[in-house]
Symmetry: C2
Subunit: 294 residues, 2 copies
């Protein structure tokens, strides 16, 4: 059974809203809840969403697939409320940038067999229903993370769900996912935000930066609420990655301070070699990427 | 006298090569020297350069304008050699990302009246003759920095030179320029390189990053030689800016470590407000920008 006719989406932000648009276009009946009722109203008015779910989530027992598309901390709270009500759902999933804790929670609340956590590597630094759009997941890698007690049916359905949106699902252990994302996504976000904060404190407006400096600071425009939740959910791995980056800056700075031309040239050369090596699975590979919900 | 018929360019990299292409197209006679003779040969073959200058720079006394387009440390050495030979030049200029030391040097070697240092805010992370192209300076801000003893004629000619290339010259004190650029250009470069180095050390290939992480690390692909010279020439201001950024990362990290949701949300919110404020002279203003030779 890899088909589904109805999907409930909790949270109509960039990711939830874009999912709703694509699913509606595919003929799927989409029900939705968002604490901001104007988002749901807009989605119903444009025929993206068929009906609103109440805050109690009553009625969520009637759909085939449930998607939690909220910041990761809220998703964990909502999952606890969804579990006893999700009587008919064949698949319960989410779209958060961290996976270990929500996968554990699914097991703890008794839906480990039907929960397949997902992390689509799609999005940009904008957020909200207004930024949502069709086709956001086309060619995006999507990491799938599960408990050991996941059913083969739920896993097959998760693959089918994301493939239907044009993306490339790939299974990965939740811990491995979170460690990988700490470096490839969460760290660049925190570095970008830190640079923005240093510039703000120095009174340097962004308008004075050129295209290079703008690139480095772009991620600082991401949603604070979403990234606070991600950082706290992946704290240990992210802290370690941030500390290593501080060391690299301090080390470059020390070389500048002692006018060590050779060392500086060696380090900047190593940075460029890393850039040129590319590696990973390449820019278009299914394993690449991580923009997460950035 | 704001006209010129002949220009000597020392260094046919991205900036020097692009200048040569534009000037040749404007009918200016371009002479050039580059330690890599194949660059000069390629430029002559394509009718961009009219003739090669020898390493001794003999013949440089015959041109109206002399442009030093090498890394900033080399430019200072070359300026000392150029000064006694630049008998006819009405303008001697450079294109480096730091200005205080070269402007001082020009005064010290007795050409302060004819030297107008320039910093065109154009370029990208690529470098070399191969990356050079026509139109690179169109609409780019160009900072002009001089000694007090600069002649009105040299300054007028410097304005005319850059306006003829389509760019927007703006005078600025050399010290002020270097302090500004430490924050808006040199700091983002060092942060981007440091992140690349941390990722390299952790064994994370760039192919695993999404568009966001790729943006943050892009500047790490810049020329190590050029950026070593810039960093050492602007060491004090750059060190201070790097240290402030380390503090911001450490401070975010501490908030994550103690799971201080409110503090983290406040800081990421401040970073986003900085992004949204823009300010400066805006993306298209003459005072914006700094990509320098990045």
């Amino acid at each position: 059974m890899t088909t589904f006719d109805s999907v409930a989406i909790i949270g109509l932000g960039l990711i939830g809203g874009s999912l709703a648009r694509d699913l509606a276009a595919l003929g799927v009946r989409v029900m939705a809840y968002d604490p901001d009722a104007t988002r749901v109203a807009a989605a119903i008015r444009t025929n993206v969403v068929a009906g609103a779910l109440p805050e109690s989530l009553e009625g969520i027992g009637d759909v085939d697939v449930i998607v939690l598309a909220t910041p990761v901390d809220e998703a964990i709270d909502i999952l606890r409320r969804v579990a006893p009500r999700a009587t008919r759902a064949k698949l319960i999933t989410d779209v958060g940038s961290t996976k270990a804790r929500i996968v554990e929670t699914a097991h703890a609340v008794g839906i480990g067999d039907r929960f397949v956590g997902a992390h689509p590597m799609a999005g940009d630094h904008r957020s909200g229903w207004e930024a949502s759009r069709m086709g956001l997941f086309v060619d995006a890698p999507v990491y799938l993370c599960t408990n050991r007690d996941v059913s083969a049916e739920a896993l097959r359905l998760a693959h089918a769900f994301w493939r239907r949106l044009g993306s490339h699902p790939e299974e990965m252990a939740a811990d491995q996912h979170d460690l990988k994302l700490a470096w490839t996504s969460h760290l660049p976000h925190m570095v970008s935000a830190s640079l923005a904060l240093a510039l703000a404190r120095a009174g340097v407006d962004r308008g004075y930066l050129g295209p290079g400096g703008r690139d480095v600071t772009r991620l600082a425009g991401s949603s604070p609420e979403m990234w606070t939740a991600i950082a706290l959910d992946n704290a240990a791995a992210l802290e370690a990655a941030m500390q290593e980056t501080e060391k690299e800056i301090a080390s470059l700075r020390a070389a500048i301070k002692r006018a060590d031309r050779e060392e500086l040239n060696e380090r900047l050369g190593a940075a460029r070699r890393w850039m040129e090596r590319e590696g990973g699975n390449g820019a278009n590979g299914a394993g690449h990427g991580n923009q997460g919900q950035s």
